[in-house]
Symmetry: none
Subunit: 226 residues, 2 copies
Amino acid sequence: MHLLLIEDNQDLAANICEHLEARGHVMDAAGDGVTGLHLAVVNTYDAIILDIGLPGMDGFTLCRKLREEAHSRVPVLMLTARDTLQDKLGGFGVGADDYLVKPFALQELEARLQALVRRGKGGDGVVLRVGDLSVNVDTLQVRRGEATLALPPTALKLLILLMRASPRVLPRREIEMAMWGDLPPESDALRTHLHALRAVVDKPFPVKLLHTMHGIGYQIRVPDAA
Amino acid sequence: MHLLLIEDNQDLAANICEHLEARGHVMDAAGDGVTGLHLAVVNTYDAIILDIGLPGMDGFTLCRKLREEAHSRVPVLMLTARDTLQDKLGGFGVGADDYLVKPFALQELEARLQALVRRGKGGDGVVLRVGDLSVNVDTLQVRRGEATLALPPTALKLLILLMRASPRVLPRREIEMAMWGDLPPESDALRTHLHALRAVVDKPFPVKLLHTMHGIGYQIRVPDAA
DNA sequence: GGCATTCTTCACGGAATCTTGACGGATCCT
DNA sequence: AGGATCCGTCAAGATTCCGTGAAGAATGCC
């Protein structure tokens, strides 16, 4: 793969480059935000590894510019020094696809890059993500932040449905059709399942991802920064 | 080989390093848990020699972090001062691959390291591993920790099926198809075989690997740390 | 070929989990 | 303010899962 690394710490950058090159990837590197953005716009990469703390232009700004001004959809993996909600939300908010907290294993970095690229290309990726919430469709593992969540089957099905559609709004009807086919339950059991879903996915956390569109339906997405 | 030694006793550390370097290996060393973990995640080692009693962060914690947070599968050999069941179980529970009781011969240390690395590499084709459970597809030997387990043919087939898929969830239907083809038994014999499998593989051990996904199917994997 | 052992299948009661249906109260749009 | 929509809760019903034991089938050993 052809990768771009934007990282100002010389030692770490050298480490990452060496490892990934040894694994057969082609690496470009930038030590500051401005040249990083320039490279990202001029060339076509399979993925970009982006540190948040950078001289010249920080990672958030760079990522936003890349998405909004250059209209690039290249997968971006963010490197953050602290495991804070602030950073995660900020990262996803500006269009990053994944993040990694320092220190991390180089193997994991590569694994995540592979996953990112696979997802970006053809088929549905195995892992659905909305903010810090993730669902692995293979293992059916549901995680939010560091916590692992347990869901009953129907609630899980509902969650996957919403996440596949995210950030679109799904009308109630559509959801019922997708879940039960032509003959949905009489009493709207949908709400009850939604309640169960909320109780697990949103209730224990400060940031709510499940939103009601009054009169229309539901959606799941990262809320706008207040 | 490129090895990492994490040991706070200066004399012992120097001894080990000298011996292994004389034998042609490249050694890195750390005197406390924090720098040890840092080195382990930043670099790529063939194996790690890890003392349990450490200042800063004990060996168990370090090993668990390495497995769960950095998702590293590098072979870990633990050094323990006492030959207690407690230590052994603890070590394997957090993902160590082998252990050695002090005092030990330096030759034995090297031999075990060699074995560990060989096992780790060849493990791709012939030996399936999930946590401390391993199945050799050639010899059909099933081991968990240090115990060798005996399984009836169908249960074994089921186990291999699940381990090949691990950590994916296999729907009942898929399992039945894979085991019996198009015409599975009427009464769900699958559950009975699963029961037999559980009785041997999980029942005698504190950590359960076989999990039921209600309404969906089954999976085998190392459970999340609660 | 006959016998003993092991394995597979089937059947049943009980336990656990999930889904549905129903209700009062809160909230939101007009 | 009024009506529609949505939310939280809970208990009954339905489904799924588990443990167990015994009958039928396959296998291996004299």
